[in-house]
């Protein structure tokens, strides 16, 4: 189990960020001495992180050729995929899995050894953000607070109260966040295990289901760890929430796949086992639903 948690923690994604051409100086106005006009930035990021944490680096790379001076490296900026604004408040990996709708089995055959799987995004800026993007007025501090808020919710779901995490000292809270920023899994696990109870006393499980078709939406089902003494299976939850796709009483195959941390996960697995191995750095197990045949065509 520890090995799987290590692998998910170190999972990464290749991003290529293009910038909205409207934000750039005309070619003739690029400062002398600048290298050729930069139209995209490529970066590898951990799946278990927030996209906006990389804004200062990405905006900084484009900065010499921007039409306007940068007054804030967070506020007013957002990412889009194929014209769809991306909500930054979920782990990058969960966003990738749900928005690209990639079926991992197809993905592995589609990309061979000498090619890279790259997620192409566009960086935009404006005074009016899309309605699905949380304004970042307080920069990295706001990101940390938002992440801590997720953990308070997760703590409540698992323990029936947020008191455990609310009693953390300021230094504990900062050390917990620092472990994410510095990618220190040992330190992260030490603090995480103070919030996540023993499996036998886990009340419910923090679970988020992401869908991108027919519309982008999020489902937060009530997922009790045990149901009548039996462990709740992912198929129980999916069958209840999406009976049209996951018909558990029928022998016919499901119409969708469940993907977590980029892995095609078996729906007959207990949610508790999936949570303990694949839960994200915000305390939730993020499962993206990918329609069968969505990307094969």
């Amino acid at each position: 189990m520890s090995e799987i948690r290590d692998l998910t923690w170190f999972g990464s994604l290749n991003l290529t960020i293009s910038i909205d051409p409207e934000l750039l100086l005309a070619s003739s106005n690029v400062p002398q001495g600048s290298s050729a006009k930069l139209t995209s930035v490529s970066i590898r990021v951990p799946r278990e992180s927030y996209l906006v944490l990389y804004l200062p680096y990405i905006v900084g790379r484009f900065e010499p050729q921007l039409r306007n001076n940068v007054v804030d490296y967070y506020n007013g900026w957002w990412f889009e995929m194929e014209g769809v604004p991306i909500s930054w408040n979920y782990p990058i990996g969960a966003l990738f899995d749900s928005l690209t709708g990639l079926n991992p089995a197809i993905r592995s055959t589609q990309f061979c050894d000498n090619s890279l799987n790259v997620w192409n995004l566009t960086l935009r800026h404006g005074t009016h953000l899309p309605s699905s993007v949380i304004p970042l007025r307080a920069g990295s501090e706001q990101i940390r607070e938002m992440w801590m808020h997720q953990w308070k919710q997760a703590c409540f779901v698992m323990n029936g109260s947020s008191k455990l995490i609310m009693s953390f000292s300021k230094s504990d809270t900062l050390a917990f966040w620092d472990a994410i920023v510095r990618r220190d899994l040992g330190k992260f696990n030490l603090i995480r295990q103070r919030i996540v109870p023993e499996a036998s006393s886990m009340k419910s499980l923090p679970l988020r289901l992401h869908l991108s078709l027919p519309d982008i939406r999020l489902v937060e089902p009530v997922c009790n760890t045990y149901d009548n003494g039996k462990e709740t299976l992912l198929s129980d939850v999916l069958g209840q929430e999406f009976p049209e796709w996951f018909n558990i009483s029928s022998v016919s195959a499901s119409l969708a796949k469940a993907v977590a941390q980029g892995i095609d996960i078996p729906v007959e697995a207990p949610v508790l086992a999936l949570y303990l191995q694949l839960a994200s750095f915000d305390g939730f197990l993020h499962v993206s639903l990918c329609l069968e045949g969505q990307r094969e065509s």
């Binding site: 909500s87 007025r137 919710q153």
Partner: protein, 164 residues
Amino acid sequence: MIAEDIFQKQLETELVPILRRWPLCRELSLLKHNGSVVILARHPELVDHTFQILIQYSTIYQEPQLLFKIWETRIVDQVEIQRLSFPGDVSTLVNTQDFTIRSDYIHNTGRDLWYSIHGCDTGEIVGYQEESYLERWCSIYFTIFDPGFSNLFIYSDHYVVSQD
């Protein structure tokens, strides 16, 4: 904490009638398909500000979830326009008291941004008794929008009956 079926029942039979009597309520829609209520309400002092309030069930906290937006009306070139207002300090527009109000809730299906009131201590604040849970809840939480909200209960039938 309130079970979802009790929430739905109290929402329809107890909370909606109370909110319809609220003098600042301009419009109320009960959305039965997802068990929520949307209210448009005047600001108690600022005539050019309107609250859009959404009450739904939080499956995380198993409590009522209170979300709101603030609309500001402006006249531009003799045309009245309404735009969303997300001020840096929301306490200038609502009665925040000790509530934790955050502008970071993206609606699960609407994909739009709302202010949310943190709900983890709701049970302690409201009291755990199931009877009239939503009535007690709104008597506390709606003072965010209207400091005089409790006046609604002074002349209510329920109050008179409970005094007998």
